[in-house]
Amino acid sequence: MTVAVADPPGVAAFDLDRAWILSEGVSLRLERFGAIAYDFRTRRLVMLKDPGLADVVGSLAGYGSAREACAAVGSDARRLGNFSLALGSLARSGMIRLREPS
């Protein structure tokens, strides 16, 4: 019998209007091209190929929503769309998670 595995809350379509944070066990190192995020739990590493995205991810904890974090680094609609896609991917892999208790 198959068991459907649900995405974590807020992930199916990335919810820009909720508060996010870097997951426990994930560390971020800034690089010229953006950043490297490493997950100690899974030993996976992801390259963030954009300095703006690196800033967004690094500052998520300080904003009430991902949208505000994106706005703070400056993003027009297209860039916001790209940020949202990338954040959604990070959320699916567990590198970032919703901040409020769910």
């Binding site: 190192r29 010229r32 030993r43 590493l45 992801v46 190929k49 990338a86």
Partner: protein
Amino acid sequence: MPTAPIARPLHSSLVDHLQAGLEAPICLTWELTYACNLACTHCLSSSGRRDPRELSTAECEAVIDELQRHRIFYVNVGGGEPTVRPDFWRLLEYATAHDVGVKFSTNGSRITPQVAGQLAASTYVDVQISLDGADAAVNDAIRGAGSFDVALTAMRRLAEAGLRGFKISVVATRHNIPQLDAFKAIADRFGAQLRITRLRPSGRAVDVWEELHPTPGQQRTLYEWLLARGEVVLTGDSFFHLAGFGSGLPGLNLCGAGRVVCLIDPVGDVYACPFAIHDRFRAGSLRGDGGFIKVWRESELFRQLRAPQSGGACVQCSQFDACRGGCPAAKFFTGLPLDGPDPECVLGHGATALAARDAPQRPRPSQDHSHDRASTTSTLRRNRRPYRPCDNQLLAEPVDMSDVGRD
């Protein structure tokens, strides 16, 4: 309101960034000691005797502090046999308590049932057992009498302690390539992951490479076997010279020396990669002012390695974009020019170059810690792994960092 189009120099190739060097290495190999209780014939660090100048416990802890400060997430610890250091377990604990994950390579001789239990309980430590034959005859010819049984005993203890996914690390040789399926069966039996890496003519392997390195036919066999297994079998990104056969194996497929990886040796010298313990590839010492990070960022050698490479004779080759000229350490220790073909070039250019070289020109290792250089000798080590280029616009594909850049 959207204004002008975004003019950031965004997604220039990530590989270009990596070739130009990072703020700190992604993956660092740290040989903790030259002391070893084995004397493997292909040891890439010519290990055996402890070096009296070895970094002290306090110095090692200071190095770990520095790694933590610069967010070097993970180190691959080897030697020698790292577990013969009396402070090994203490350093392991110190590293993991300071956000530096550790994978260590061992011959298994110190993996008691108690140690196996402790390792199984740690989420920040990975273990890699070295094995160079799927039976005692093939393994012990390289690693020494009894070493096969020692390794298998360690694997059994790890499995019994409940540690899943530890690594079994094999250096591919002419004698064990017929055993690929048997190695996989051993890994499956213990719930372990197989890791196969390239034999380099480094350290004591300088003397045995000619007779141990795979034949051209075996290279093809190995390539196809690995290709069929994808990421199930790790390769430490060490076979990028085989990309000339067709598509590259999973991984970065570039030489990371001084760009993505480097080596710290037991006395604190920093080298471009684990296979290049030679003055030619020595970048500096972390015992100097500024520590490790100053060597990484400012050494002249690393600056050169990060500059665009000419590619020399290989630039004309149709496969240059695939193999990038191969492994500099393999060229260096076989006496080939660094801008020429890899000695194991799949198109045969290496064989031609080897035949044409002046025999006495091969560089000797700059140092040797072998137990008894007069008798046989050589030991070995292993290495790490990949990530692949790109996917969506802002993220590169996740990479299993448990395997980049080690020997």
